[in-house]
């Protein structure tokens, strides 16, 4: 019993799941049954992968003790690079890889600057938020290029019944990342690096390389998510993903990621992203003025952090015995 309680308290993402279920029940009523209808679920689940992937990257980087708020800009830059190179004659797959490479480059730059100069990654990536956005607008030439009609965008956008193809990519990545984080030594290193960097260094963990990896991973996930969204929309708007960085951080935190590093899960990131999507959708369906959306997310964010802090304190009082 004590054990179950502790497991529950130690996993803030479970609290998020409980909250999610409650919200779904409430919105199901207020939307007069439309929330869980086939058409609406299709819509909500179709959009989830895009934000979910960004949230996973941000979460893992936060566990490693760093921030990335340039993800919204990378989200726009990667598909822009893909579209432009594709229009210049580069085939689809290499063009996608070029887009991802651009994202990786931004992540590596974030990491290098942060680690080399020992400055807060919040500042580095705030700078990068502007820089990457500016590059996106400049290379777009001011108006969004159209995607050529013959690219196989369906590998991300095609619906199979209830589910879009992008969901499979998302789920696959989520499983790989969740396993990495909890069952690979790299995951152990990421947690130790973010939680207690001196201890990690002393045990011979290559903390700089661990952080570098997380910066690049975070950027690439954001870039990939952007590419998926652009293939869905058909055109890479230079303004894509504005404000996404804050939603991604919110999703991570709502899902139980600590702002001080060392604590967080992939499942938490997904639950956080799902909560945000459900609130967005549920408010619309309930005919609440759309301007309340940010109010709701803001309140949820603050409450989640208060709640998680409290849960963690309770958990610490419970000691397991063998």
């Amino acid at each position: 019993m004590k054990r179950l309680l502790k497991i529950y308290l130690d996993k803030p993402e479970l609290a998020g799941i409980v909250l999610l279920i409650i919200l779904i029940a409430v919105f199901q009523v207020t939307s007069r049954g439309f929330l869980l209808s086939y058409d609406n679920l299709r819509g909500v689940l179709g959009l989830l992968p895009e934000m979910g992937m960004v949230a996973m990257g941000v979460t893992i980087l936060m566990i490693a003790g760093e921030f990335d708020i340039s993800v919204g800009s990378v989200f726009a830059l990667a598909p822009m690079v893909m579209a432009i190179t594709n229009n210049m004659g580069v085939p689809f797959v290499p063009a996608v890889l070029l887009g991802l490479l651009a994202a990786a480059g931004i992540g590596a730059t974030n990491g290098m600057i942060t680690l080399r100069f020992g400055i807060p990654s919040f500042i580095t990536t705030l700078g990068m938020l502007f820089i990457a956005r500016s590059i996106t607008v400049v290379i777009s030439g001011g108006f969004p290029p159209l995607l050529s009609a013959d690219i196989p965008g369906w590998i991300f956008t095609q619906y199979i019944g209830l589910i879009r193809m992008s969901m499979f990519w998302f789920a696959g990545l989520a499983v790989i990342l969740a396993i990495t984080l909890s069952l690979m030594n790299l995951g152990n290193w990421i947690k130790a690096t973010g939680g207690q960097i001196d201890a990690a260094n002393a045990m011979g963990i290559p903390t700089s390389r661990v952080k570098m990896f997380c910066f690049v991973l975070c950027s690439m996930l954001a870039g990939f998510a952007g590419i998926v969204q652009v293939l869905r929309l058909g055109s890479p708007l230079p303004s894509l993903g504005e404000g996404l960085e804050l939603q991604a951080v919110a999703a991570a935190v709502i899902g139980g990621t600590s702002l001080f590093g060392g604590i967080g899960t992939v499942v938490g990131a997904i639950v956080g992203a799902l909560l945000i999507r459900v609130i967005d959708n549920g408010l619309v369906l309930s005919r609440v003025d759309a301007n309340w959306f940010k109010f709701a997310i803001g309140s949820l964010l603050i409450l989640a952090v208060i709640g998680n802090t409290w849960l963690r304190r309770q958990s610490r009082r419970i000691k397991l015995e063998t």
């Binding site: 690979m184 030594n185 207690q196 002393a202 045990m203 011979g204 397991l320 063998t322």
Partner: protein, 280 residues
């Protein structure tokens, strides 16, 4: 391992050339090692040896350079140019924490080297996680081994040792126990203990000192730093006294009584020299 090392030959005030068991190669040897941090010279021209099966004590005032010295030994700091490190007689250039650990040098830090937010089982194997044939962490083994090691080696009562407990929830002594157990588990050749008894209760201090004794019984070496000479003297074979980054004296225990040593330490603190103060 009943046979202890016999130290003889070196005279008491011959501070630089004490060579116990001169026929043996030191496990670790530093030659002319200096370490500068910007303006601060923490170590200057240190010559230092630890022989197999030997417990070496490091004494010295706050800021004397004890921690810097052991951090250099365990690869955390790189010595300034001109300094050399030898492991079992071989000069080693690419000295790093990983290199040192792979050669069997383990540390129990002054600042406790545990990831506080993680459970014990993740800490116990940090940096050298055992893996299954699939390449995944062998979580089952990590947990059961952690529990076993903690009870067997540290005599922990059951409450503290559940491998799922977060380190943050443990007492200072318990945390030190995890760090010491970890060093022991990795079958260290040389265990470095930097003030392992800091902030510990009497009984937990006793446990730690017993552990230092166990290192010797197992035929391994240790470097032991502690401000309390009553902790250091009984367990060591040889003592280095550091003063402002320099070796001020090396003593074989059989050649100096605790009283004499205390006298000399006072003298270092007062005059900066171990020898009788010259009339001004």
């Amino acid at each position: 391992m009943g046979q202890l090392l016999q130290f003889d030959g070196a005279s008491m005030d011959d501070s630089k050339t004490t060579a116990p068991a001169a026929d043996k190669t030191p496990v670790i040897e530093l030659r002319n090692v200096s370490k500068t941090f910007g303006e601060v010279r923490s170590l200057s021209g240190i010559d230092f040896k630890v022989y197999p099966g030997e417990i070496v004590g490091l004494l010295g005032d706050n800021g004397a350079g004890k921690s810097t010295l052991v951090k250099t030994v365990m690869g955390y700091h790189r010595p300034d140019a001109g300094g050399e490190i030898f492991f079992k007689g071989k000069p080693i250039r690419d000295w790093s924490v990983n290199r040192a650990r792979s050669l069997g040098i383990e540390t129990v830090y002054q600042e406790r080297a545990l990831a506080e937010k993680q459970p014990i089982w993740r800490n116990m194997f940090m940096g050298r996680e055992p893996r299954t044939k699939w390449g995944l962490l062998d979580v089952k083994r990590m947990k059961s081994e952690s529990a076993r090691l903690m009870t067997e080696h540290m005599g922990f009562t059951s409450a503290a040792v559940h491998p799922d407990n977060t380190v943050m929830t443990m007492s200072g002594g318990e945390k030190q126990g995890v760090a010491i157990t970890r060093a022991l588990y990795f079958d260290a050749e040389l265990v470095i203990l930097d003030e392992p008894t800091m902030g510990l209760s009497l009984t937990e201090t006793k446990k730690t000192l017993d552990f230092v004794g166990n290192i010797k019984k197992a035929g391994k070496s240790a470097i032991f730093i502690d401000h309390n000479i009553f902790h250091v003297y009984p367990v060591v074979d040889r003592l280095y006294v550091l003063d402002r980054g320099k070796v001020a004296g090396v003593y074989t225990k059989s050649q100096i009584t605790m009283e004499d040593l205390i006298d000399r330490l006072y003298r270092v603190a007062r005059t900066g020299s171990l020898e009788e103060a010259k009339p001004a």
